[in-house]
Symmetry: D2
Subunit: 344 residues, 4 copies
C-alpha cells in the first residue's frame, strides 16, 4: 500500500484523482492539498465524497509534504507546478506533474506558448513524458513524470502507428479537435457560463493553441524528424470528452483493413487503447469516465485522404486516469489497477 | 400579398417555414399539408403556434393544391418531393423544394448517393440552385428552386470567394463539419434519443455523406473545373447550428487582412453574410434562429494552411430561412423581408 | 415612433430588450447604456446584433439621458436601479424598471428580503406593478412601472382567477417553481459554470427566495386579504423558461371543465395568456422566446388537490417582453405590437 | 463467487446492472439475456463494455436459464417480467425483479394503474419489497425481491422517519418530483427525441402516474394506516437523477435541528443514505452514478410547512444499484460491496 498526496485537490483534475485513488486497492490517499480551501473537509467542498473520502484539505506547501508520502500528484496551475515539483524532487519524492510545466523539452517553446519563463529548465531533461503506451520503460524508473495534455494524448495515440512506420506525408497533418467544457478548468468565466456555453459550438485559439508544440515534439520524436501540424480545437457543449479528427496523406496504398491490422498489432499490449473494427466509429460517451482511448481509421477512396478519429475522456485518459496509470507503472502495479471503470 | 402553401408542414423545416411565414408581412400562409396529421389544427400538433397560426393541417396531394396559391414549399421526404414538384410545376405553380431531389444535375449521382432512381430527371435542368448570394439573377425568374442542403450552404458560402478567384489548390480541400441534432429530422431514432445524444460527440458517415456530391458540384461550378473534397460531418449535442471548419492550401500569399478585404467585397451586397474581422470567430449561438451566415478566416503562418470557419442555423439559412429568402427574390420583395430576426 | 433608452443593456434582460425593440415597428432604440462596455459597439460585445443594431454602448448616468427620449428601460442591478429611476422621474421620463426596486409597497419588506435600505421609499406609492393582464388601466397612465419578477409573473397569472373568485383555501398555497439558468443573470459564478450546472438539478433558497414577498403582496391584493405562500425554486439545466407547479385546496367543488371555463373567461382579452384545454400541459419550449404564458389545470380526484401549472419564458414574459408589453400600453400601441414571435 | 444472470440486459437498467456487476468482486456475470440482440456480443451493442465484459447476448427464455446460476435479475418489461419470475422461482432460482410486477400487494391496483391483469397474483405475497434501509431482514431470506421503483425509492427514504414517528398530518402529503430522461427507458419516442427534450421542462401524468399506489402502499405500511398522496412528476433535460421535493404539515413543533437528529439516527446504519446538515441541499450531480440517497430538511417558519428534499440516481439507487444492494444482502456480502463508486 503506497501513500499518495494530491496538490491542487479541488480543481477538476484533483477531484478526478481523488475519485480514482479512493477506489484504488493499492493506494492510500494521505494528503489533499488546497490553496483556497485549507481546513475544510473534502466532502464539504465536493459533497460527492461524503462517506467515501474523509480527508481534511490542507493548505500545504511543497516543502511541507511529509516524508511518509510515496508519490505526489501535482495538479497545480502552470508555473506554480514546476516550482513545487522542483522542491518535491529535491526532497526525494516521486512526482507526477499534471500541468504543462515539464512537457516541453525546450524552455524557449515553453516561453513562447505559455508566456512564462520556466523556473527550473534544468529539470526538463529529467522529466519523462508519461504516455504509457509509448514510454512505459522510462516511466518505470522515472522520478518526474510530465503527464501529457488532454489533446496531445488523443492525437499522439491516434497517429503513433502511422508515424512509427513512416506511412504518411509529414507535411500533411491536419488535426481538428473537439473538447468538452471541463477542459477549461473549474474557474467560472464568461465563455463557460451555462447560458453562453450550452447550445453553442465554436472553434477557439485557431492555429495558436498552447498544446501545439507538445503535439509536434512528441509526434516528431516518434517520426524521427521534426514536423509541424495544423491544429484547431473546438468547444463542445458537454462536460467530458475529446474527439480528434485527423486528416493525413498516406505515403503508401494500405487498405483500411491493413491499417486496422497494423494498429491492432501496435496496441496489442496496451489495455486502454481499443482499435475499432471498420466501419465502427468512436463516440465520446463510450469512454466517458473511463481510461480508454478508442480509435478508428477510414480511407476516403475518392480523395485518397486517410482519416483517423480518436476519443478519450479528457479528465481520465487525458489527465488523472493517465496519471494513475503512470503511478501503477512506477510502483509495479498492473497498469490497469484501479482503472477498471466502464463508461457510465 | 402572395399566398403560400407548405407541403410537409410538421417536420422541422415545415415548422420553421410556418414560423417564418407567420411573421412575413407579404405572405399569407394558406395551406399546411401533412400526410400524418391531416384534420388536426397546427396548434394541436405544435402548441407554440396557438394564437399565431390558425390553420388546420390538410392531407393534400400535389394535384389538389388550389390554384389560388402563388408559391409551394415542398418540405417532403427525398423521393416524394420530386414527384410532388413535377406535378406542381405542370399545374403552373412556382415551387421551392427543400429536399435534395432537384439539387444534383446528374441523375447518376442522385442514384449513387441517395440510392433512389430519380423519378423525373428531365426537370433537373430546369431547377435553379437556390443560393441567393451566388445565383440571385437565376432565382428571380425560376419556376423551380432546389433549396440547398444545410452543410452545402455553410461550405459554399465559406469557400466561394477563394474559388472564384482561383486562390487555392483544388486538390487540398478538407471540410470538417459539425451539426446540431435537428439536422437529423423529427423522427425519433436511437442515436437521437436524448440519453444517447446529450453529453456525446461523434463523427458519422465519414467520407460517405450524401451532401458530398452537392458540395462538389457547386464548388466545381464556381471554380470552373471539377473537384473533390474530403468531408466529415459530426454530431453536436445541441439542437440548431452548423459550424464548418475548412482547411485549404493557398495558391498565393495573401495575408489574413487581404483575404478579409476580398471576402468583405465579395459579400458586400449580401445582407445575410457577415464576414468577421480577424481574429473574431463565429459561434453558432450568434446565428441561432436567424438567417445569417458568419464567416472567419485564419492563416496558420507555421504550416501555411488557410482555415475558413462558417456558422449558420441549419434550419434557417440552412433550410427554411433560405427558402423564404428565395421566395422574396422570386416575388420581388426585398431579400430580407420577414427575415429580420436577431439570434436568440 | 417613440424613442427608447435601455440602461444596463448588456445583461440578459438588456440584450433581450434590444432584441425585441429592434424588431418593434413603433420604437427607435436610441440609447444603450452600459457601465462596463461604454464606447464599444453593441455588436462587438454581442455579435448577434451585427447588421441589426448599429448603436455604440454609452457609459451614461441617469442624469445624462437626453430629453429626446420618450421611455427609459432600467435594467440595472437592484439598488442602483431605484436611484436611477428617481432621477429619471424627476427629469420627466416615463420609466419601466426591470429590477425589484419598485415592486414592494412596504420598504421594510425590501429591507428584509433584499438586505438593502430603499434609497427612495417615497416613490413606492407612485410605482405601478406592471402586470398588464391585471393592471392595464393603471399602466396606461403610469410614470413608473415596476416590471414584475419572473417567478411572480408565472405564479400570479396562474392563481389570479382562483383568488379573484375566492375559490381556494388561502392557507394552502404551495408553489414548486423551476427556472432555467438565465434567471441567475449574466455574471459567471461557480454554480452556473457549465460543468457544474448541466446534468444537474437542485432546489435553492428553499423557503427564503426574495420573490416571496412580491408574490404574497400581489396575490393578497387580488384575494383582498393578506396571505402567505410556501415557495421553493429549483434550477433546471436549460437556458430559458420557468414552470410553476402550484398545489391548492379548493374551497368548492368545481370540476376541471368548470375551472377551465372560468380561466378562459378571465383571460379572454389577454392575448398572451393561453389556457390549455385539459388534459394538455404546458412545456417551456412552447413559450421559449415568446411572450406567452401557458396555463393548465388539473384536479386530483383522489386527494382533492387542485394543481395549476404555468409556463413562461423568464426573459420574455418574465422580464423584457412584459416590459415591452407595458410600454405598448403606456404609449397607446396595441398590446402585442412587436411581440408576435412564435416560440423557436 | 456467485453466478448471476441478467434478463433484459440491453435496456438502461440491464446495462447498469452489467456495469455494476462487472466491477463486483463477489459475482460472475454468467448470462446476459436479450430478446432483440441474441447472438451479438455485449460490446457490439454497447461498445463501452469492450475489454470489460466479454459475454455474448443470448435469446434465452426463463425456462432455459441454467441451474448453475445463483441469482437472476429480471429487467424485462412490465407483464413479461412477472411471467419470467414465476418460472424462475419454480425452478428454484432466487429472483430480483426490477419491473413493477411484484411491487403492489393488491392485484386490483396493478390492474388499475398498469392496465394489465396480473399473470400470477398468488406470488405477490411471497415478494419482498426490496428497500434495504427498511426491509433488510426480510430481504436476507427472500426468494423473490420486488425491486422498488425510482420515484418511490427517493420518496420513501425521504419520508420514512416522519411516518415512523407519526410526525406529520397524513392528509397533507404533496410530492413534486423531477426525473432525468433515462427514467423513460431506452426506446426512442417523440417526447425524448433530443431536439424536443433538451431545453425543455414539463410536468407529465399529473396526478395519474403509475408509481402512486406503490408510494401509498409503502408509506401507509410505515405509518400504520392507509394514506393518499398528491404526486406530480416532471421531466428534466438531463440523463440521470431524481429530485423529490416533498411538502408536509408537521404534527408537532420539532425544529430543523431536531429533525436532522432524528433522521441521522434513523439512518445511522444505512451506508447509502446521507442526511445533509442544514442548510445544505441535495443536488443530483452529487449522487450521479452512485448508490447514494441524499436528504435535506427545511421548515418554513412563516407557513409552518416542512419541506423534505431527496436526490438519487434513478438508474443506480433507483434501480440497478439497489438491486445489487439487495443481492449483497441476500448472499451475505457487506451491503455496499461493489457499490463504492463516487459520483462522477
Amino acid at each position: 500500500m503506497i501513500k499518495a498526496a494530491v496538490l491542487g485537490a479541488t480543481g477538476y483534475t484533483g477531484i478526478e484523482l481523488m475519485r480514482l485513488l479512493s477506489g484504488h486497492p493499492g493506494v492510500e490517499l494521505s494528503l489533499a492539498g488546497s490553496e483556497s480551501y485549507g481546513g475544510k473537509k473534502v466532502s464539504e467542498i465536493h459533497p460527492q465524497f461524503s462517506g467515501r473520502v474523509d480527508l481534511t484539505l490542507e493548505k500545504v506547501s511543497a516543502e511541507e509534504v511529509p516524508r511518509s508520502i510515496d508519490v505526489v500528484f501535482c495538479a497545480l496551475p502552470h508555473g506554480k507546478s514546476a516550482e513545487a515539483g522542483a522542491i518535491l524532487l529535491k526532497n526525494g519524492f516521486r512526482v507526477i506533474d499534471l500541468s504543462a510545466d515539464y512537457r516541453l523539452k525546450q524552455p524557449r517553446l515553453y516561453n513562447d506558448w505559455y508566456d512564462l519563463d520556466h523556473p527550473c529548465p534544468e529539470l526538463l531533461g529529467k522529466a519523462v513524458y508519461g504516455l504509457p503506451e509509448l514510454n512505459s520503460r522510462a516511466i518505470m524508473g522515472a522520478e518526474l513524470i510530465a503527464n501529457p495534455g488532454c489533446y496531445p494524448t488523443g492525437i499522439i495515440l491516434g497517429l503513433a502507428p502511422l508515424l512509427k512506420h513512416q506511412m504518411i506525408d509529414l507535411k500533411s497533418i491536419i488535426i481538428d479537435a473537439k473538447s468538452g467544457v471541463s477542459g477549461a478548468g473549474r474557474a467560472p468565466r464568461q465563455p463557460f457560463h451555462f447560458p453562453e456555453c450550452t447550445e453553442n459550438f465554436k472553434a477557439y485559439r485557431v492555429a495558436t493553441h498552447q498544446h501545439t508544440p507538445e503535439i509536434e515534439q512528441e509526434l516528431g520524436s516518434i517520426a524521427g524528424e521534426s514536423l509541424q501540424v495544423t491544429f484547431t480545437p473546438h468547444l463542445v457543449p458537454m462536460v467530458r470528452g475529446i474527439l480528434c479528427t485527423m486528416y493525413l496523406k498516406p505515403a503508401g496504398t494500405e487498405s483500411e483493413d491493413e491499417l486496422y491490422g497494423l494498429y491492432s498489432e501496435f496496441y496489442e499490449n496496451s489495455p486502454f487503447v481499443r482499435v475499432l473494427e471498420p466501419p465502427a466509429q468512436p463516440e465520446t460517451r463510450f469512454v466517458r469516465g473511463s481510461n480508454y482511448c478508442d480509435l478508428a481509421l477510414k480511407t476516403d477512396p475518392r480523395t485518397g485522404c486517410l482519416i483517423v478519429v480518436s476519443a478519450i475522456d479528457n479528465l481520465v485518459k487525458g489527465a488523472s486516469g493517465q496519471a494513475v496509470q503512470n503511478m501503477n507503472i512506477m510502483f509495479g502495479y498492473p497498469e490497469d489497477t484501479g482503472l477498471g471503470q466502464v463508461a457510465i
